[in-house]
């Protein structure tokens, strides 16, 4: 136990505080925190790396032949889809991290600071973007090794990743709101996946809906996850139309417009 009796508090208290920083600078600090988390909690990388590898390999080799005649043909169809699925599942992590921070009182400190209110969330988004890029990069690499070829080339891949980040950004709000509402990180995960599984599996990520019953087919065709998947598939294949891309962006844009104010309100509401 250190004892301060021999060392009186010697701290310069009297100097002028620095100039208040900009909102952007606040956001950068929280982004830096997100990056430090990767360094200090490398365990989270395991999930992040293993899950997409597993899904890509399992689906391609287990279902590929049956669904598309050959694993190669299926991979060509499935790879853009697994990118969307991974990004959507990854969005859960932000909510879990937020819930952890809230349960520990860390956000009380942030909320009592004179900073831009949304800055802590911008930091979460930075963490998300990094996760999406890491996971997406891994999937793409495996795909390329297994023989996937993007008809639209490098530009198509870059555009597809841009679209993926927009999708991840939009979906992220759902879990941020959930993280603000639910105090236990495990509950955030359970609730998140309960909501996501039907959305992801009842979509065109794994198969085209042609053989599904009519009511399900109707749902799959308007499922935002399907719209996102079609657009990314199209962008990578080089045959996406502008309206494909716009449809894919409707859900992320709507989620942002609706949930960003809700997030701010929940964050400031504070009477927990």
């Amino acid at each position: 136990m250190t004892d301060l009796s021999s060392t009186p508090l010697e701290l310069r208290l009297d100097r002028a505080p620095p100039k208040p920083p900009s909102a952007f600078s606040n956001a950068l600090v929280f982004g830096w925190r997100a990056i430090l988390k990767f360094k200090h909690v490398p365990e989270q990388l395991f999930d992040l790396v293993m899950t997409p590898i597993m899904f890509t390999l399992l689906f391609t080799f287990v279902f590929g032949g049956a669904l598309a005649g050959s694993t190669g043909a299926y991979l060509q169809f499935f790879l853009p889809g697994i990118l969307v699925q991974t990004v959507v599942f990854n969005a859960v992590y932000s909510g879990m991290g937020l819930s952890t921070d809230l349960s520990k009182g860390l956000f009380d400190r942030f909320r009592s600071l004179p900073i831009w209110s949304l800055a802590p969330f911008a930091g979460l988004m930075v963490g998300d973007i990094l996760r999406h890029l890491i996971a997406g990069g891994i999937i793409l690499t495996i795909g390329l090794i297994l023989g996937y070829r993007a008809e639209a080339g490098v530009l198509g891949i870059i555009a597809a990743f841009g679209l993926l980040l927009a999708v991840g950004f939009g979906m992220g709000w759902i879990f941020i709101v959930l993280g603000l509402l639910v105090r236990t990180p495990m509950t955030v995960m359970t609730a998140g996946f309960t909501f996501l599984f039907p959305l992801v599996f009842a979509s065109n990520i794994m198969v085209q809906p042609d053989t599904m019953p009519g009511w399900l087919k109707a749902f799959v065709e308007v499922n935002p996850i399907s719209l996102m998947t079609s657009a990314i598939r199209g962008v990578m294949a080089g045959n996406a139309t502008v309206s494909d891309v716009l449809w894919a962006l409707v859900a992320p844009a709507a989620l942002t417009v609706l949930l960003a104010p809700v997030t701010l309100w929940l964050y400031r509401r504070s009477d927990r």
Partner: protein, 337 residues
């Protein structure tokens, strides 16, 4: 309430800066429960002010409102001259709060935590690093600077948490139960820090459920119970208001405690308070003569006394007298007063 306890300055002297904290009729309810039920408070600049009360009295809720973490349902308050409701961002710029549970990022190192806060306050590059290192040195954490906070001891966390509140010198520092859960050694070092900070002009509002903490640190104490302020004054005033003629009796035989209590009540009339261990009784005696008679009656009934004394009530006795014995205050572990 006694006059001696009504020490609120009704009007501030002209030309003086606004008080550090000024609260009028503040209310906060959670559903049907009025956690804070119309509290007034005035804290001058540079003072250590303690809010004393049992668990659930509303101390933390009051402090969270003052730190802009909860919105009052009624009443008004200003901190360093800024209104809580209309200018929360200005309040935030002039306060810091160290909550009951360490508000630190456990995954990051102590240094990274301070760097993060320094940057959020506007320090850049080298300036942020220098400030973080100054704080680490001042709080004797330089050796642990690059360890993750999750590996810190309770005392180290608390020091880092307070350091985190001093990145920029706040006008008011809120400390919510700053020594709860600390060993006596760590408590002493936190007390020393608090005194040093007050010495350099920081106003400190702390909540505590430890009477000795309020007694030793605070220039003024507000006693809160069930959301209401039931008394306010200096420790001496609170004790004087309860009455100075307190008789303390320690029994040699705990088995006779009920007999002794009955005899004291018969002779002195007042409510007898019993220590948690059961062998110490305290009662308001009025005059030394009355106290002598009561002791004579105990001896006449063959109740052996280990010790007895006449004097001021302890803050604990004040608290019980004020709350009618309803509230229970904690005693710090391993610290026999």
């Amino acid at each position: 309430m006694n006059d001696a306890m009504r020490m609120n300055n009704s009007s501030s002297v002209e030309g003086q800066p606004a008080p550090a904290i000024s609260v009028r009729g503040i209310v906060k309810h959670f559903g049907a429960v009025r956690a804070v039920d119309g509290i007034d408070l005035d804290v001058p600049r540079g003072m250590i002010f303690a809010i004393l009360g049992p668990n659930g009295a509303g101390k933390t809720t009051l402090m969270r409102m003052l730190a802009t973490l909860a919105t009052p349902d009624a009443g008004s308050a200003s901190v360093m001259g800024h209104d809580l409701v209309t200018a929360p961002q200005k309040v935030r710029a002039s306060i810091a709060m160290t909550g009951q549970f360490a508000s630190l990022d456990e995954d990051l190192t102590g240094r990274e935590n301070l760097l993060m806060l320094a940057r959020l306050w506007g320090y850049r590059g080298r300036g942020a690093k220098e400030r973080a290192d100054e704080l680490l040195a001042a709080f004797d954490l330089a050796d642990a600077a690059n360890k993750q906070v999750k590996a810190y001891s309770g005392g180290m966390r608390r020091r880092l948490d307070i350091a985190a509140s001093l990145v920029v010198t706040p006008g008011v520092l809120f400390l919510d139960e700053p020594t709860t859960g600390l060993d006596p050694n760590a408590r002493q070092s936190v007390w020393r820090m608090i005194r040093a900070l007050a010495g350099s002009g920081v106003t400190i509002l702390l909540t505590t459920q430890y009477l000795d903490e309020a007694d030793q640190l605070a220039a003024r104490i507000a006693v809160i119970d069930k959301g209401k302020k039931i008394a306010e004054g200096t420790s001496r005033e609170l004790k004087a208001a309860t009455g100075s003629g307190f008789l303390h009796v320690a029994l040699a035989d705990p088995a006779r405690v009920d007999d002794a209590r009955r005899l004291l009540e018969d002779h002195l009339g007042g409510k007898v308070q019993q220590s948690a261990e059961g062998v110490q009784l305290s009662v308001m005696a009025g005059t030394p003569a009355a106290a002598s008679q009561a002791i004579a009656a105990l001896i006449a009934d063959n109740i052996e006394l280990a010790d007895f004394s006449m004097g001021s009530p302890s803050l604990e006795e004040v608290f019980f007298a004020l709350t009618g014995g309803g509230g229970r205050l904690a005693k710090p572990e391993g610290d026999e007063r």
